[in-house]
């Protein structure tokens, strides 16, 4: 139960951070035209397919005792796992938000401004208008990190009672030959994914009516 809770906590906090950072960035990229925007969009798209083990390695090197942030002693803590997951999920959130904002009719954006919206009110209205797609960003981001194993294993270390989450526990149980436990944990993870996606879909469809 503690493993399940930690999984939810780490991925929940990570997706929250990713949304807070990714949604404004995605909106900004969606509405602004500037030199170098194409490069940024390419970087985001590349980031959407970032291999988690590469992120794990990067965060590991960053937080390792000899690394630039070594003094904070974050390696093998849930915080390190959150950092890795934020790096994995944020490009996804930015990418989906960007697509959602670009999917809005350009004249709808002009209409919001022409009715006298301030920059902040404009941003907020865009988020509201694109909220169904932003729920997809939330679902995609959360789905990608709750099921991710490579990065959390590397930076979390799979320490029992401290950094062990559902995915790393499944890997461990499989390695130890306790297949029934591994299958049970997998089923719980699947059920969790199903529940969360059902919740997002319900929210999305309810608002779409």
């Amino acid at each position: 139960m503690a493993i399940l809770w930690l999984s939810l906590e780490v991925s929940g906090v990570a997706i929250l951070f990713s949304m807070v950072v990714g949604v404004p960035l995605g909106v900004w990229l969606g509405i602004r035209r500037f030199l170098g925007r194409g490069l940024l969009v390419t970087l985001v798209n590349t980031g959407m397919g970032l291999p988690p083990v590469v992120v794990g390695l990067f965060v590991f090197l960053l937080l390792a005792r000899s690394g630039p942030l070594g003094s904070f002693e974050l390696l093998y803590t849930p915080t390190a796992m959150v950092i890795a997951q934020v790096i994995i999920a944020t490009p996804l959130v930015i990418g989906v938000t960007l697509a959602a904002i670009q999917g809005l009719d350009e004249r709808l954006r002009l209409q919001i401004l022409s009715l006298g919206a301030s920059p902040l009110q404009y941003f907020w209205k865009l988020v509201i208008e694109a909220r169904l797609s932003l729920l997809a960003a939330l679902a995609a981001g959360f789905g990608s990190i709750i099921s991710e194993v490579g990065a959390v294993m590397m930076v979390g270390g799979n320490l029992r009672g401290e950094t062990r989450v559902m995915t790393t526990a499944i890997v461990l149980e499989t390695r130890q030959g306790d297949f029934s436990m591994a299958i049970a944990l997998s089923l719980i993870l699947l059920l969790l994914a199903l529940l969360i996606n059902w919740l997002f879909t319900w929210l999305q469809q309810r608002r779409a009516l």
């Binding site: 919001i112 022409s114 006298g116 608002r207």
Partner: protein, 369 residues
Amino acid sequence: MNPLPLLQLEGLRYAQGGRTILDIPALEVHEGETLAILGATGAGKSTLLRLMNFLLTPQQGLFRWRGASVPRPVPLSIRRRVAMAFQEPLLFQGTVFQNVAYGLALRGLRGATIQSKVDEMLHLFHIDHLRHRSTRHLSGGEAQRTALARALVIEPELLLLDEPLASLDLPTKEQLAGELKHLLGRRRLTCAYVTHDQEEAVAIADRVAVLENGHLEQLGAPEEIFFHPRTPFVARFVRTGNVLPGVVEHSQEGLAVIRLQERRLEAVSDIPVGRQVWICLRPEDILLSREEKSAPSRDSARNHLAGVITALRPNGPTTQVTLDCGFPLLALITRRSALDLSLAPGDRLVASFKATALHLIEEGDTEKR
């Protein structure tokens, strides 16, 4: 009329992708007037409206609001004096009420104030009964009424309408055009109204600006645009019907003789001899008769042209007759007259019109007239 225009544009130039979209030396919108911006697709009408709404930034040009120059970036306080409604309703998710209330909420108004203002506007546009309806379940007319109410409820000092009726069916369009004109007049609203429909422009506007390829071709009262077009483009755009090239051959006491191929026409004009002109003649100013006028005419019309009917096109209560007079000449008569004269292609007719019916445009000198 206030001596200071509400909005003045000076030396406006807007380009996109290296192509000049708009180049307008000067344009003013006066308080309380409805200015129709008329032009074909791609003339730059919508771009002009977006510039007036400060949604686009021109490469060159100055905007003055009641005489004071508008700084860049445009302050929110000035942006909020203008509101625009587009051709498509562009409604937000939510109910009709929420849409109409949106601009008021942006301005920090709350509760009862919003309620009463929105109620009044819903009533004006006859959509009270739709207040709680989702915008997903509105007809085209209802949606456009909602969009217009949303723009008007914030009581903008300048209302910009970008072909707001273009996507509606004809009965709805006519009804809403009437209501809109009534509303604009009653509230003394200042409005810039983009349309490609000249009839809509005449119906609603105090002044008409005709745009062509980003240039202001003519600006004036509707009658002026329709009866005294300044360029051949404007003449054709307002369906003058006959826009023909000629040369002033003789001029005396304000009466000019214009050579049009091998024909001679008389017109009231002081354009000097030798000048190339465009002859504008509205089809409805032409009288058609069957008699051959070999002898000098006995009516007051100064012009009589013999021709052969090449086409007859009935259109509702009227019939458009195309005559070959050495050049094609369009005349418009009532359908009943066409029947009485038993007109048929190949028939010989005489087209008569007064010298005052001709409007001349001097070629290459659009400034003078």
